[in-house]
Structures are given as structure tokens and as C-alpha cells.
């Protein structure tokens, strides 16, 4: 029987175990033939291209941590990039992508579109961020092919097309219906998407598209804390996994006198304050137990409890303090904020692991736990693992420990160009 992870481990030892276990997801749940990584550990899970992007970003970390030989890591990355370079890009409904973008989910085996899903812009951006991060790291002469493929993949993305003649990007596209109409309003995880699109040397987004994108941002004093609000915690972390926002500011942040790193700290403070107030009286919530974000939940069915407004949701983007909130916490989320609020993240994680040790089977966090939804006295627990959670954790723990990913993108002319064109200045950007 495995010992509980908690007790008196030092922070470094705790991080070692959790980070390594999270990385191992990418070797355990990938297809060696094409490099694709499963969205979840559940059987028949398709590949999520975003998870691939996280995985590619984790290989440099694994090399530096001594978990994998550099040659093997480079080979795996190259293998993955070859698949994407060679997979079908066309309007055919079963292609892998279109105009350089990729379908959100692909068959693990064939690499073709799965679930009739959409060509996803944000997920393609997360994939490309991983591609480019790996290319930045694998800089040896013998790794030139990897870098060339990465550049090809990036340069063939037709960002201009994805504007669909508008000022801002659509969320996605399908061959059946064209561009999706899902609206973006307010702050969310897509800063990285614009930075990459604006930096393109071939089909760039106009720099002013970022201004259009931030047009609906709202600087808000919420629970006594000034913030650019977005409910789900992951929206304050995804772009930040790659981009070091410390001290660099775009026009919006210059105006309000903050930056996106500080804003994530505010998001953490709001989550903690909300959990402390715990207006819906959910079990477990406290200033040291929080993490309300997108993830798996107890049920897609609507199970009414008292008071009248309590319901449980399946996989969805939960948020605080506006909701939706059904008492489900993402066990990985506190630790993923460790570069921003290390004390709160580490203390909260230890508290979680003490209270609910089952959230971390084999040292790897599950997607969700809901202490308010109990069966036979046991809190509901999500089955298996989600790749996004694992990749984000590996990267954020590393950024906390060594700034490795942040240093790679800071040294990248491409990322620098995108940030500058989007209007970022100051700090390390100069």
C-alpha cells in the first residue's frame, strides 16, 4: 500500500514527487507511434492537442530534472512534430486540421479528427506554444530538424483567416458550419493565442487585434481586491505557464497599474477569500482549501439539494465568486499557482492532501473532488487523470523552482515579438 504523500516531507521533496508523477502522465498515456497524448487516462480517450502542447513543454523540464535523456526527449518531440507536419490539413471532415490549425481532439491511433469536434484556435495555440518551447530548448546542431519542423508548423498557421474578416479571433471552425459563434467577452486564457498570432511572420494578426481583444476587460474591486476578473482559475494560469508576465505590461495593465502576474496573485486571493466566506456552505472550503476552475464534476445530471440553488455539474468551467460553483474543487489547482502565491499554494496543497489523501492516487492529482457530494461518507472523486492538469502542474512547479519555461520564452525572439507588438513593454522586455 502506498504511503500518504503528506506528513513531514520538505517542500522540495513534495514538489519532486508530484512534479515527476505529473510528468509521467505524458509517457504513460501517449502513443509512441505518433507522439499524441490522451486527453485523459480513461479508456478510449482521444488525444487533446492542448495536452500535446503541454507535454512538449514538459520534455525540457524532464531533461533538466534527469528524468529522461536529452536524446530520447528530442527524439520524442521530433516524432510528434513529424506527425503534425505530415498529417492531413484540408477541408475534409476527417483531416487532422485546416489552415495550420488543428482539431481540438484527434484519434489517438489515426491522428484524425475525433468527435466531430471543432478546429480549435486556443488549443492550437497551446499546442504551438509547446512546439516552440521545445524548439527553443533543443538548440543543439543535431536537433536542427526539430527546430525546422517547429518553424514550419508555426509559419503555416493562417491567423489572418481565423479573424473571419472581424477584429478579433473566432473560437473555432468546423467544415460543416464554418466559424463558431461562441463569444469571447472579458478576460480569459487567450492572451497567448494573440501573442503567437501577432508574432507570425507569414499570416499575422494585426497588432491592433489585441486592443480589440482587451476591449471588454473590466478592472474591478471584488471582495475588496482589485482585479481583472475571470472566474475559473485556469484562465489565470494557461498563458502564464509559458509567458513570464512579471513586470511587463500591456496598455490595459499600464492604465490600471498592475500586470498579469500580479493579477493571478489577485485571483488566488479572491479564491481564498471566497472559500473562507463560503457562502454556499460547501464542505471543506476554507482559506486553505480552494481551487475552483474548469474540471470534472460529480454529474451531468441535475441533482437538486437544499438550499434550492445547489446543483451538481459534470465537466465545466467553474468560477469564483460569481460561479458556477457546486462544491467541486480541482485538487491540482492550488499547487499550479505556486509561482504566484507559493505559501498559499503549498500550505493549501498539504492541507488538501491531509484532508482528502485520495485526491492524489499514485502521486498524481485527479481532476476534481467534491466533499459536498458524498456517497457512503466518501467525497466524490473524479476518475483517472486529465492531461491538461498534469502538464500545467509540471510547468508551474518548474517555473517556481527554476523559471525554466519562462526563461525559454523570454529568450525567444518570436515570443518577444508577439508581446511587443501586442503592446507589452517594461520589465524584462525593456
Amino acid at each position: 500500500m502506498q504511503l500518504p504523500i503528506i506528513t513531514d516531507s520538505s517542500d522540495q521533496a513534495l514538489l519532486d514527487r508530484l512534479q515527476r508523477a505529473a510528468f509521467d502522465y505524458f509517457t504513460a498515456y501517449s502513443n509512441a507511434d505518433n507522439g499524441l497524448v490522451a486527453d485523459t487516462s480513461r479508456s478510449n480517450s482521444p488525444c487533446s492537442i492542448a495536452v500535446v502542447g503541454f507535454g512538449l513543454s514538459c520534455y525540457p523540464i524532464a531533461v533538466e530534472r534527469g528524468w529522461i535523456r536529452r536524446e530520447l526527449a528530442a527524439e520524442r518531440v521530433l516524432h510528434t512534430l513529424k506527425f503534425f507536419a505530415e498529417s492531413e490539413q484540408s477541408v475534409q471532415p476527417e483531416a487532422s486540421g485546416y489552415r495550420g490549425f488543428y482539431y481540438h481532439f484527434l484519434s489517438m491511433r489515426s491522428g484524425r479528427r475525433a468527435w466531430q469536434c471543432e478546429v480549435s484556435l486556443i488549443d492550437t495555440a497551446l499546442l504551438l506554444a509547446g512546439v516552440l518551447t521545445a524548439a527553443q530548448y533543443f538548440d543543439a546542431r543535431g536537433e536542427a530538424r526539430l527546430r525546422a519542423l517547429a518553424q514550419d508548423l508555426y509559419e503555416r498557421v493562417d491567423w489572418t483567416w481565423a479573424l473571419n474578416h472581424g477584429d478579433t479571433l473566432a473560437q473555432g471552425w468546423t467544415p460543416e458550419t464554418g466559424f463558431l459563434r461562441y463569444g469571447w467577452e472579458g478576460y480569459n486564457e487567450a492572451t497567448l493565442l494573440y501573442v503567437l498570432g501577432i508574432a507570425s511572420p507569414t499570416h499575422p494578426l494585426p497588432p491592433e487585434s489585441f486592443g480589440h481583444w482587451t476591449f471588454t476587460y473590466q478592472w474591478e474591486n471584488l471582495l475588496g481586491i482589485d482585479t481583472l476578473y475571470s472566474g475559473p482559475l485556469f484562465t489565470h494560469l494557461f498563458s502564464h505557464a509559458w509567458l513570464d508576465f512579471r513586470g511587463i505590461r500591456d496598455a490595459f495593465m499600464r492604465q490600471v497599474g498592475s500586470d498579469y502576474f500580479e493579477n493571478t496573485r489577485s485571483a488566488v486571493a479572491i479564491q481564498r477569500e471566497y472559500a473562507a466566506r463560503n457562502p454556499r456552505a460547501f464542505a471543506g472550503y476554507s482559506r486553505d482549501l480552494w481551487g475552483i476552475t474548469a474540471g470534472d464534476g460529480p454529474s451531468n445530471s441535475q441533482k437538486a439539494l437544499t438550499p434550492r440553488d445547489r446543483r451538481y455539474f459534470g465537466y465545466m468551467a467553474r468560477g469564483a465568486p460569481y460561479g458556477p460553483d457546486d462544491g467541486t474543487l480541482a485538487p491540482w489547482a492550488m499547487l499550479a499557482t505556486v509561482p504566484f502565491a507559493p505559501e498559499a499554494a503549498l500550505y493549501g496543497t498539504r492541507h488538501l492532501l491531509t484532508q482528502y489523501p485520495a485526491v492524489c492516487p499514485h502521486d498524481r492529482f485527479v481532476s476534481g473532488v467534491n466533499p459536498s457530494y458524498q456517497s457512503n461518507g466518501v467525497a466524490w472523486l473524479s476518475e483517472g487523470w486529465y492531461g491538461l492538469d498534469q502538464g500545467l502542474l509540471v510547468m508551474m512547479i518548474e517555473n517556481y523552482r527554476s523559471d525554466l519555461v519562462w526563461n525559454l520564452t523570454r529568450d525567444s525572439a518570436l515570443f518577444q515579438t508577439g508581446l511587443r507588438r501586442a503592446g507589452f513593454a517594461g520589465g524584462w522586455l525593456g
Binding site: 461562441y182 463569444g183 471588454t216 478592472w219 482589485d226 466566506r277 457562502p279 441535475q302 434550492r308
Partner: protein, 484 residues
């Protein structure tokens, strides 16, 4: 026809009405007896003017007959059912599925409409000295209007003809049959299944209300969110609230077609590439309103309507004919009864008192009467951005307001938008069970230009939901004392 129906008719369109003999010349002729026309007529009389009022249909306009009043009467009934279902949370007995006596619900609505109609009734208007004409009003030249065969010569005229429900070219919909606000309030039975096409205020209100009464409701919205004029956080709370009420919410949905067969209606819809068919008993089409400018012979007065039916006006509500003004839904982008009434009064002041009041200066609150209610006044964030006004918003969540907690109604928030670096309030959104009342405090505050500093010191009743407004001001004061 019930007694209240007869009374209603007697008030808004007396069957035995005889149009008066016209005067040789009127100071003011108004076409349209809704909130804009009625407000204008009342003010004009107070100014001592000779006034003629022409109405094609019923007095009271859309608001009384097929809008604000009947919808709010039904909303109240819906709330009563919702409260019955949820009464166990308050120690009550609870009813899992209260069966609505829909006939009684509609009778109540008709009685309320009839009662409120008294204030705009033909008899009252006549008693005030208005020459009231029922019939179509049409210009015959730049200073004359034909009203049901009578020629009314005027010094000034006001077009207040309102707006009508927008129709749709959805294939098959007309043949399948659908309701609009014009016909919805005449329903005589609760449809077991209702599809609401359109996620604006009326569509959302009726979707939730009918769901509360036990109808299986599906609301289909073309846009990514309900209430596109409201901000994301408000619209998302509404989505959750509708779902909690049992409404099947379908955003980003395109209606492809409709049909009817064997007493059922079918809607073909598509979302994210997936097509499906929805079977219902009734369809409410609620996709906005179109200005009533047709059949007015505007060209005789030297006026041309815009392609969307709006009558073009300047800031002072003058049309292309300087002696003809317009007010209310026929010309204003914000189609609300309070805006209509305010604009009608502005038009009269500008036309007769030498005032130079701009309709663009109207700061009118609006509200969608769902549960929770969603109210707004002044600028949205995007309005401020377009005007290059930096904004700092102060938010209080209703879950932190004591009265909301005691009421068991703690969904929502108060957001007050300030010009950044100042305490000047430029707009506010309130989502709360009593937002329609709370927003009026903001209306007064903004009208007298009270800043957050003074507001923070104004003692409110305790506990009260409106205390959230004071708490927002307190949050402002706290932030002025230093960052947290």
C-alpha cells in the same frame, strides 16, 4: 368576455367612441397614445396647449397592452409558483409540482391590465381636455394629419407610434404558427411545451415564468449569451438561473426551419454543427421590435423613415420637418416605456418652451424581470472604452449582503462603474432579486451627481438589499485608504 375585459376595452378603446369635431388648428397633434404620446399629451395640457391625440389601436401602447404590464403580472404568478416549490427551504410545506390554474393566472393579468388602464383611459384623457381620435393617422401635408377622416391642422406634431414585434423569415414558421408579444398574452391555456425563440428581456422573462408554472420551456438564442446588451457576468448568472428554473437553454443556436403536424409544432435547429428537431406545442417569437413608421404618409410631411423603419431625429428629437418631433420606440434605440415617456416630455419642452434638451442626455435605468432581476443604468464598460473613459468598477456580491442572506435571495451583485481616479459614477449593473427597485437609487445618485465619497456616508436601512450600494461606496473608500 369577462367584466374586467369589458372594462379594459371601455378604457383603452371604447366601442361606442365618437371622434370629436376637430378644431381649426391644434397647437399639438400626437400620433400614438403609448407612454411617449401620453406623457407628451399630459405635459402639453399642463402647458395650456390645445392637443389632439390619435390612436390606431388601444390606448396605453405596447407597455400596457402587450408588454411591461401583462408580462410583469405573469412574472408575479410565476414567482408564486416558484416560491411554493421552494418553500421547504423556509420551513414551508412545499409542493413538488403545483398545477397552475392558468385561466386564473390570465384573469389576474387581465384584471391588473384593466385596473392600470384607468390612468390612460379615453374618459380620463377626454376629461383632461385632450381631443382623442381613434383611427389611422396620416400626414396630408407638412402641417396636417388625417385621423380617421378628420383633418387635424397643427403647429407642431409628435410621432409616437411605437414599435411592433419583429417577425422572422424562418422557413415554415409562419405556416406552423407562432406567437409574439402581441398575441402571447391572449393565451387561454398553458402549453405543455413552449419554445421561446430569442433571448432578450421578454423572451427570458416568459421562459422562466412559464417554466415556473410547470411548462416545459426551451429557449433558443442565436447569440453566445442571453441579454446581449448586458455584461458577461450578468448574462452568465441569468443562464444559470434559467437552467435552475428548469428552462432548457440553447445558446449559439440557429433556427433552420419550422413545421406543424398533428397538433404539434417542430423547430429545426442547429448548434455547433449538430442539427436537431424540437417538438413543442407553442412557439413564442421574441427577437426584438421594429419601429412603426409605415402607413403614416411621412413623405407628405417631408420626412423619410430609415431603412429599418426608425424615424431619423436630431439630438432634440426633431425630424426632417422642424415642426414634427418624434419620441419613443419609433425613433429611440432603447425601446423601454420609461425612455419613451421621458423622450415624449423632452420633445414637448423643446417644441414649446424654448428648451434645448437632448434625448442623448436621458439616463434611464432598465431591468429584465427574471429571478434574479438584471438592471442597468448609464454606461457599460464598452461604452466607456469607446469614449476613452478609464473605468474602475466596485462590486459587492449579494451573497455578502445581510438582507439578501436573510431573504434567501443572495444570487447576484451590484457593480458600480466609476471614472477611474475619481468617485464619479458613470454606470451600474445590479443583479438581485430586487434590482428593479435598487437601480432607482443609482438613478437618483447619478442625476444629482453624487459621488462615492458622499454615498459611503449615507445611512441605509438595515438590513436592506440596497445596502449593497452603500457597501460598494465603502469598498471605494477602503481602496482609497491604500491597496490590500
Amino acid at each position: 368576455m369577462t367584466r374586467s375585459d369589458l372594462l379594459y376595452l371601455q378604457r383603452v378603446r371604447p366601442p361606442d367612441w365618437v371622434n370629436p369635431v376637430p378644431r381649426a388648428q391644434y397647437d399639438l397633434v400626437i400620433i400614438g397614445a403609448g407612454p411617449a404620446g401620453h406623457g407628451a399629451a399630459t405635459l402639453a395640457l399642463a402647458l395650456g396647449l390645445k392637443v389632439a391625440l390619435v390612436e390606431r389601436a388601444n390606448l396605453g401602447g405596447n407597455s400596457l397592452n402587450a408588454g411591461s404590464i401583462p408580462s410583469k403580472a405573469l412574472v408575479r404568478s410565476g414567482r408564486a409558483f416558484e416560491q411554493m416549490v421552494n418553500s421547504p427551504a423556509f420551513g414551508g410545506p412545499g409542493l413538488s409540482e403545483p398545477a397552475a390554474d392558468f385561466r386564473a393566472v390570465m384573469q389576474r393579468m387581465h384584471a391588473i391590465r384593466s385596473r392600470i388602464a384607468e390612468s390612460v383611459s379615453a374618459e380620463r384623457l377626454k376629461g383632461l381636455g385632450v381631443d382623442l381620435y381613434f383611427g389611422d393617422g396620416r400626414f396630408t401635408d407638412r402641417h396636417a394629419i388625417d385621423a380617421g377622416g378628420c383633418t387635424l391642422r397643427f403647429n407642431k406634431a409628435l410621432l409616437a407610434t411605437g414599435a411592433r414585434p419583429r417577425t422572422s423569415a424562418i422557413p415554415g414558421l409562419a405556416a406552423a404558427g407562432y406567437l409574439t408579444s402581441s398575441s402571447f398574452f391572449e393565451l387561454d391555456r398553458l402549453p405543455p411545451r413552449l419554445a421561446v425563440i430569442g433571448g432578450g428581456p421578454l423572451g427570458c422573462e416568459m421562459a422562466q415564468t412559464f417554466a415556473h408554472m410547470g411548462c416545459k420551456v426551451t429557449i433558443l438564442q442565436n447569440d453566445p449569451k442571453f441579454l446581449p446588451r448586458e455584461e458577461r457576468d450578468a448574462a452568465e448568472l441569468l443562464s444559470l438561473s434559467l437552467a435552475r428554473s428548469g428552462v432548457d437553454t440553447r445558446l449559439n443556436t440557429t433556427i433552420i426551419g419550422a413545421s406543424a403536424r398533428d397538433g404539434e409544432k417542430f423547430i429545426e435547429a442547429e448548434n455547433n454543427g449538430v442539427r436537431y428537431t424540437l417538438a413543442v406545442d407553442e412557439i413564442l417569437l421574441s427577437i426584438g421590435r421594429v419601429a412603426n413608421s409605415q402607413d403614416l404618409h411621412l413623405e407628405a410631411a417631408g420626412i423619410a423613415a430609415a431603412s429599418d423603419g426608425h424615424i431619423p431625429i436630431d439630438d432634440f428629437l426633431r425630424t426632417a420637418n422642424p415642426d414634427v418631433y418624434a419620441a419613443g420606440d419609433v425613433c429611440m434605440p432603447a425601446k423601454f416605456a420609461n425612455v419613451a415617456q421621458a423622450s415624449g416630455e423632452i420633445a414637448i419642452r423643446n417644441a414649446f418652451t424654448g428648451a434645448q434638451l437632448r434625448h442623448t442626455a436621458i439616463v434611464a435605468p432598465r431591468c429584465t424581470y427574471c429571478d434574479p432581476e438584471i438592471a442597468h443604468i448609464g454606461m457599460q464598460i464598452w461604452d466607456a472604452k469607446r469614449s476613452s473613459i478609464p473605468v474602475h468598477t466596485y462590486t459587492i456580491l449579494m451573497q455578502d449582503v445581510d438582507r439578501s442572506i436573510t431573504d434567501g435571495r443572495d444570487d447576484g451583485f451590484v457593480k458600480i462603474h466609476l471614472r477611474a481616479g475619481t468617485d464619479e459614477i458613470i454606470g451600474a449593473t445590479i443583479v438581485a432579486s430586487r434590482a428593479s427597485e435598487m437601480i432607482n437609487e443609482l438613478a437618483v445618485i447619478m442625476h444629482v451627481r453624487l459621488g462615492m465619497r458622499e454615498l459611503a456616508g449615507i445611512v441605509h436601512t438595515y438590513p436592506a438589499q440596497s445596502d449593497a450600494i452603500r457597501l460598494a461606496a465603502r469598498a471605494y473608500m477602503n481602496s482609497c485608504r491604500g491597496p490590500r
